[in-house]
Each structure stands twice: as structure tokens, then as C-alpha cells.
């Protein structure tokens, strides 16, 4: 449940690189620049060269074998620096879908491309999240019809994986991004990131991933994506706590450091406890994945719900504890505040995951 030497080095390298090349201030500029794109292509090239796109992929398909704990460490570094990349959408979600639902041949064809930094987009959400029981997007007679929300990196992906209903099965369809009949609207969210809403109107499908029902593979891939978002969230939450503690330790009022006020100390201590709890839940899920566990559904929901809650709380508390400066756009706090709300919705908010955890728990 703890990082080995290579994973620690990876994390440190990535942290240093991002703090230098893509810190929160870079997100602010990115957001304020005209035009809308879900990530900085040049930066992604550099990150892919550092291996970010290939961390947890199987080594025979171009992966680096850093394992899921390694992936978690990378996501934490991205979250800490508020760096926008297609790691989550492509290297995690698309790769896991291909790896779990695809044939050997499909794996060999696509995973090395992802590992090298090529970007795949996955269209899976309808409404607020994935609907495991019945999808409105249908696959029939070789074409797709329907609509998807919250698609990550759709604006810059060359290929898409679309989750669709085929009779009583769910399938994953591979579609070229420039296929006729696709209507894709990309909008910037409050935090500067982008998501797309996509309509499919008789869109021709290149091929399906694997054969038969892919429901289990979809659920497993989404679990891993949820855990990856949780890691990003906890990276952000930890950065916020550090910045808040630093601010309280420095800022003086009424002749003393405000960090000496016991009420503020207790709030920070409480936040630290909840953060460490959430980090433990995350570590538990990653550890099980590295151990080859098949089903981490409850662990994934636990990790995502706890990460959701502490990131929201931490960002509110950090804003308050920074006083007047905390509500200005000048400080980074507001960027984390907004990122926390966006990540909260990615792959399910806490009510969704609590409901799922309870259902899986049989009560």
C-alpha cells in the first residue's frame, strides 16, 4: 500500500516537472486564453515522453509497469498542480476498456498507441453518469444513435469508444472522430477544463471491442477511472492543506500568527485526519488493483466518495481560512475550489457512490 522506490521517483519527477511547466497559474492563463481545448497538446507530448500515458498499461503493450499505485501517484501530482491532460480519459479509461473488453488483436493494435500518447475519447455518460441498466444510445445494424454527456478529450481525440445498448447487451463501439453524423459540442467548465456533449446520428461503427456483453468490462474500467479521479482529487486537497497551513503560519493579525488560534488549528487537524482517511481508502483500492483483484466496486466507490467529500470540504475551508484573499481570482485557492466541483461530478458524486456501495452491500 505504499510506493516503492521507482514509484516514488516517478512521483517526484512528475511533481517537479509540473510545478515548473504546468502549475496552477498555467491553468489560469489557459482558461483566460481565447478558444477552447481540453488540454495543451505540446505539454501532453512532453508528459507522454516522461511516460505519463503508459504508467499502468501492460508491459507487453508498451506499458511501463508502474502499477496502479504508480498511476495514483501520477494522478496526485496532476491534481496537486491542476494540470489538464488526457491521462484520465485516454490512458486510464480508454486503455482499461480496450484491455478489458477488447480482443488480443485489438489490445495489440491500440494500447501501444495510447501508451505513446495518442488520445482516445470514451463516450459513456448519459445524464450525470453511466447508466448500467439501460442506455439511450443504441447500436443497431452497424450504426450508432443517441447522445452522450461529459465526454473527456472529445475535441482532440482521433478515435472514440462509444458505449451503447445492443438489445439486452451493452457494447463498446469504435468510431472515427471525423465520421459523418457526429455532432460534438465542446464547452469550457468553471475550472477551465473542457467536456463535450456528443450526438450520434446513424454513425458508422468501425468495429466493436470484443464480443458479447461488455458490461463487466465497462464497470471495471469506470471503477478504475473513479479511483484515478480520486487520486487527482486528493493531490489537490493535499496541496490546499499545505498552502493553508503555510498561509496561517505566516499571516499575522492582532499581533500574532493566525495559525496560533486554536479554533483554526483544530479545523486544520480535522482536515488532515479526513484527508489521511481518504488517502488510505485510495491506497486500499490501488493496492487491490495491483494485486490483480477482479472486483473493486465497493473499494472504488468508497475511495471516490471520500475523495469527493474531503476535496469539497477542504476547498471550502481553504477559501474561508485565506480570508478576503481566498475569494479573489488572484489566489490559486479559487482554481482548486472550482476543480473540486468538476472532479466531484466526474464518474459519480458521493450520493451516487454511496447508493452504489449500499446496493453492493445488500442493504
Amino acid at each position: 500500500m505504499i510506493l516503492n522506490e521507482e514509484q516514488t521517483m516517478l512521483r517526484d519527477t512528475l511533481r517537479d516537472f509540473l510545478a515548473e511547466q504546468a502549475p496552477p497559474s498555467a491553468l489560469r492563463s489557459w482558461r483566460d486564453r481565447a478558444g477552447v481545448a481540453s488540454f495543451d497538446v505540446e505539454l501532453w507530448q512532453q508528459l507522454a515522453e516522461l511516460g505519463t500515458a503508459a504508467l499502468a498499461l501492460p508491459e507487453q503493450h508498451g506499458g511501463l509497469g508502474f502499477g496502479y499505485l504508480g498511476l495514483g501517484a501520477a494522478m496526485e501530482a496532476l491534481g496537486r498542480n491542476l494540470t489538464l491532460t488526457p491521462t484520465l480519459g485516454s490512458s486510464v479509461l480508454a486503455a482499461e476498456l480496450i484491455n478489458r473488453a477488447g480482443s488480443d488483436q485489438q489490445r495489440s493494435a491500440m494500447l501501444p498507441a495510447i501508451a505513446a500518447g495518442e488520445v482516445f475519447a470514451v463516450a459513456v455518460n448519459e445524464g450525470s453518469h453511466y447508466q448500467p441498466n439501460m442506455l439511450a444510445t443504441s447500436y443497431r445494424d452497424g450504426v450508432l444513435d443517441g447522445a452522450k454527456t461529459m465526454v473527456l478529450n472529445a475535441d482532440l481525440a482521433a478515435q472514440w469508444l462509444v458505449v451503447a445498448q445492443r438489445d439486452d447487451q451493452q457494447v463498446v463501439a469504435l468510431v472515427a472522430a471525423d465520421s459523418p453524423g457526429i455532432e460534438c459540442t465542446t464547452e469550457q467548465l468553471m475550472d477551465g477544463s473542457c467536456v463535450s456533449t456528443v450526438h450520434f446520428n446513424r454513425v458508422a461503427v468501425t468495429e466493436l471491442l470484443g464480443e458479447g456483453d461488455s458490461r463487466a468490462a465497462i464497470a471495471a474500467a469506470l471503477d478504475i477511472a473513479s479511483v484515478a479521479v480520486a487520486a487527482e482529487q486528493l493531490g489537490g486537497a493535499e496541496a490546499l492543506l499545505e498552502q493553508t497551513v503555510a498561509f496561517l503560519s505566516e499571516r499575522e493579525q492582532f499581533g500574532v500568527k493566525i495559525g496560533t488560534f486554536q479554533a483554526l488549528q483544530h479545523r486544520c487537524a480535522q482536515l488532515f485526519c479526513e484527508l489521511e482517511l481518504a488517502k488510505s481508502a485510495l491506497a486500499g483500492a490501488l493496492f487491490q488493483l495491483d494485486n490483480g483483484a477482479d472486483d473493486i466496486a465497493q473499494l472504488a466507490s468508497q475511495a471516490k466518495a471520500l475523495a469527493n467529500d474531503i476535496y469539497l470540504k477542504m476547498s471550502n475551508e481553504a477559501t474561508q481560512l485565506h480570508g478576503g484573499m481566498g475569494v479573489t481570482d488572484e489566489m490559486d485557492i479559487g482554481l482548486y475550489l472550482k476543480r473540486s466541483r468538476v472532479t466531484n461530478q466526474l464518474f459519480g458524486d458521493s450520493r451516487y457512490h454511496c447508493d452504489r456501495f449500499a446496493t453492493l452491500g445488500g442493504y
Binding site: M150, T185, E187, Q253, F261, G323, I333, V342, Q345
Partner: protein, 396 residues
């Protein structure tokens, strides 16, 4: 004795005659009539209404008539307010001078200052800004650093003020400045009036987490301020400031009441955006309970205000109750914002996208903007300190 009944009838008739229909509706922000050099009227009726009220001195009804005020006594003021409320008349003028500086000048200003400033405030010719807060001071207002050096016939002012609302449109600013750097904190502070058109004054807008705002930072770089613009005694500005702070707190709460729009109820919104069972109940029982708990708190909060009102009417106000209002209200408002955002789900993640509605944009903007409410006008932490010590009598 005055004939108040007659005053009421005359006032009612006059308002009926002079307050046009468009000025008898709840005011929205864009239609507020602010004072100052660039005074803006959203339509001709607004101008007529303002000018009629101004000429009667009813932009400042309780100020002495000799400075252009209405010269009304307390009872007349109350009658005027009641009659304006009866017709839904809008406030004729918005200005920090009306709300805050005027009362302070009447209490602490010398005759020359009153003659110079009060008539122009009443006539809406000058827009005033407030210069109290500083970037490094936060809740500890008295630690302010903007300094005014005594240079014979004038002060030389250097420093910066933050959270000055619409300083870029203001003509004058009233400021707390440090005139004795060696004195203990509150002892060396003076109260100065500064012409915003003086050389060395500049402003920069402040961007908030909710986007552009009406707040500015104001910079003073070797600004010369004539000694006549010192209000009250040298180094005694804290007394004037304390007087004003009372008005500010009152203002903060009335302002937030003014801005609040009647929105779709939170329960209705939840029914629209989340699942509902056959009986019309929200399917998500935990969301349903969180909404209920918020509505109950909000209901209790309204009743707390009603209790205060009844206490005031009976002349038996429990001062401890008033100390709780700001903290309770702002915390609950933020909880409501969080719930609303959560209910919107994906649709609550952006503020100006074409795919989301105006109502959704408002919810998201408010969510971000309202984060300031537990900080501005006395942080929640300060409120809790006050309650602990003054309401509960805890030691220290």
C-alpha cells in the same frame, strides 16, 4: 404638536403624484440610481423621480434642511418610509455618502466640512467610496498601514485600500489612515476625505472567484490631501470609524436582502433535476433530507428575525440574539448554494455556456460569490469570538 396625520396624507398624495409606475417595482441591480459624476438613469421616469425626491431633500430625509436634507423628525421619517413601502417606491439614491459618510459628518464633521460635502451628497452629485480594508490587515482592521504624513498644510498619503466598491466610478473616498506610526494600533489612526481626482490616486478592479466584480483596489502614491479634509481630531479617527462600522453591518444585511431574487424553490429545482416517485417525492432520500434540514434552518432563521422584531417592539431586545444573525445567515446561505449546485449536477459546472440556462448560471455565480459572505463585514470566526465572549461570557 405636529399634525402627523396631515403629514401622512400629504406625503401619500405627493408620492402618488411623483413616483412614476416604473419606480414602484422591486429594484434590480441594473436600475439602481447611484450618485456621482456619471449618474445613470435607466429611463426618464427614474430621472424625474430622483429629481423630485432630491429637491424635497428626501434623498436624506432626516438630515437638517439647512444642508439640503429633508429635515424630518423621527416620526415623519417613519411615516415617509411606511408610505414609500406602501407604494413600493424604490430608494431614490444609492451612495456610501448617504448611507455612511453623512451620519458621520453630522456627528464628527466641522461646519465647513458639512457645508462642503452634505449638500452635494444629498443632491447625488458626488459618489463616495469607502477606504477601510487593506490587503494585509484582514479582520484586524486597526493594523492598517496606509500612512498620512503631516506636511504643514497638507497630508501626504501613501498606501493602498482594498474592497473599495466601485472606486473606479467614485469622486471622493473616506479613508482611515495612520497618522502616528508610533502610537498603539488604534490610537494613531485618523479619518480623511480624499478627492479621487487628486494626483497619485489610481484604481484597479478586483477579479473574484465568481468573475468580474464591483470591487477595486485603490492606490495612493504621494497624494496631497489638504488638512481641512481631516474629520474629527488628529489620531482620533477610530471613533469615527466605529460609528461607521455600525452602519456598514446594517448595510451589509440590507444589501444582501435587496439583491436576493425570488428564485425557483430548492425543492422544485430538485424535482426538476433529480428522480421523483409516483407520489411526487424525491427518490433520493438523503438529498430530500438535506433539503429539508436546510428549509427548516431557513424557516427557523426567519422566525429568529421575527423574534427579534417582537422583542424590539416590546422594548426588550436580547442583544445576544443579534450577535448570531450574520453567522447563522451566511453559513446557511452557503449550505443552500452547495445544495443547489449539487442538484444541478453536470449542469452546475459552468457559468456562461449556451447549453445551460440563465437560472443555472445565476445559481453557479451565486455559489462562488457567496463564499465571500462569511468573510466580508466580519468573518464567521470573528462572529464566533464575539458570541463566545459577549453572549456567553466565556473568559479571555
Amino acid at each position: 404638536m405636529k399634525d402627523y396625520q396631515q403629514f401622512r396624507q400629504q406625503t401619500r398624495d405627493w408620492l402618488e403624484a411623483h413616483c412614476p409606475p416604473s419606480q414602484r417595482q422591486p429594484v434590480i441591480e441594473a436600475e439602481q440610481i447611484w450618485a456621482g459624476r456619471d449618474q445613470y438613469f435607466h429611463n426618464n421616469e427614474a430621472r424625474q423621480y430622483f429629481e423630485a425626491m432630491r429637491d424635497r431633500g428626501w434623498t436624506a430625509p432626516d438630515w437638517p434642511a439647512e444642508y439640503g436634507g429633508g429635515g424630518l423628525d423621527e416620526t415623519e421619517c417613519k411615516i415617509l418610509n411606511q408610505e414609500m413601502a406602501r407604494l413600493n417606491c424604490r430608494p431614490p439614491l444609492y451612495d456610501m455618502g448617504i448611507w455612511m459618510l453623512g451620519p458621520a459628518l453630522l456627528a464628527y464633521g466641522n461646519e465647513q466640512q458639512k457645508r462642503q460635502h452634505l449638500p452635494r451628497i444629498i443632491r447625488g452629485e458626488v459618489r463616495w467610496a469607502q477606504g477601510y480594508s487593506e490587503p494585509a490587515a484582514g479582520s484586524d482592521l486597526a493594523s492598517l498601514k496606509t500612512k498620512a504624513e503631516d506636511c504643514g498644510d497638507h497630508f501626504l498619503v501613501n498606501g493602498t485600500k482594498i474592497w473599495t466598491t466601485k472606486a473606479d466610478c467614485a469622486d471622493w473616498i473616506f479613508c482611515l489612515v495612520r497618522t502616528d506610526p508610533d502610537a498603539a494600533k488604534q490610537a494613531g489612526i485618523s479619518f480623511l476625505l480624499i478627492d479621487m481626482h487628486s494626483e497619485g490616486v489610481s484604481t484597479a478592479p478586483i477579479k473574484l472567484i465568481s468573475g468580474a466584480s464591483s470591487f477595486c483596489q485603490t492606490f495612493f502614491d504621494n497624494v496631497k490631501v489638504p488638512k481641512e479634509q481631516l474629520v474629527g481630531e488628529l489620531n482620533q479617527g477610530w471613533a469615527v470609524a466605529k460609528e461607521l462600522l455600525k452602519h456598514e453591518r446594517k448595510l451589509m444585511s440590507s444589501m444582501s436582502a435587496m439583491v436576493e431574487n425570488e428564485q425557483e424553490s430548492i425543492a422544485e429545482l430538485a424535482k426538476k433535476h433529480t428522480a421523483v416517485d409516483a407520489a411526487g417525492r424525491l427518490t433520493d432520500g438523503s438529498l430530500r433530507r438535506d433539503i429539508t434540514r436546510h428549509l427548516m434552518n431557513q424557516g427557523a432563521q426567519d422566525l429568529l428575525n421575527e423574534r427579534l422584531y417582537h422583542q424590539a417592539r416590546a422594548g426588550a431586545v436580547d442583544p445576544r440574539l443579534g450577535m448570531t444573525i450574520k453567522h447563522i445567515g451566511t453559513a446557511e446561505l452557503q449550505r443552500k448554494d452547495e445544495l443547489l449546485l449539487e442538484i444541478l449536477g453536470n449542469r452546475g459546472l459552468s457559468w456562461e455556456n449556451p447549453s445551460t440556462s440563465e437560472n443555472e448560471h445565476t445559481i453557479v455565480k451565486n455559489w462562488a460569490y457567496d463564499k465571500a459572505h462569511t468573510i466580508a463585514g466580519g468573518t464567521s470566526e470573528i462572529q464566533l469570538n464575539i458570541i463566545a465572549k459577549r453572549a456567553l461570557g466565556l473568559p479571555g
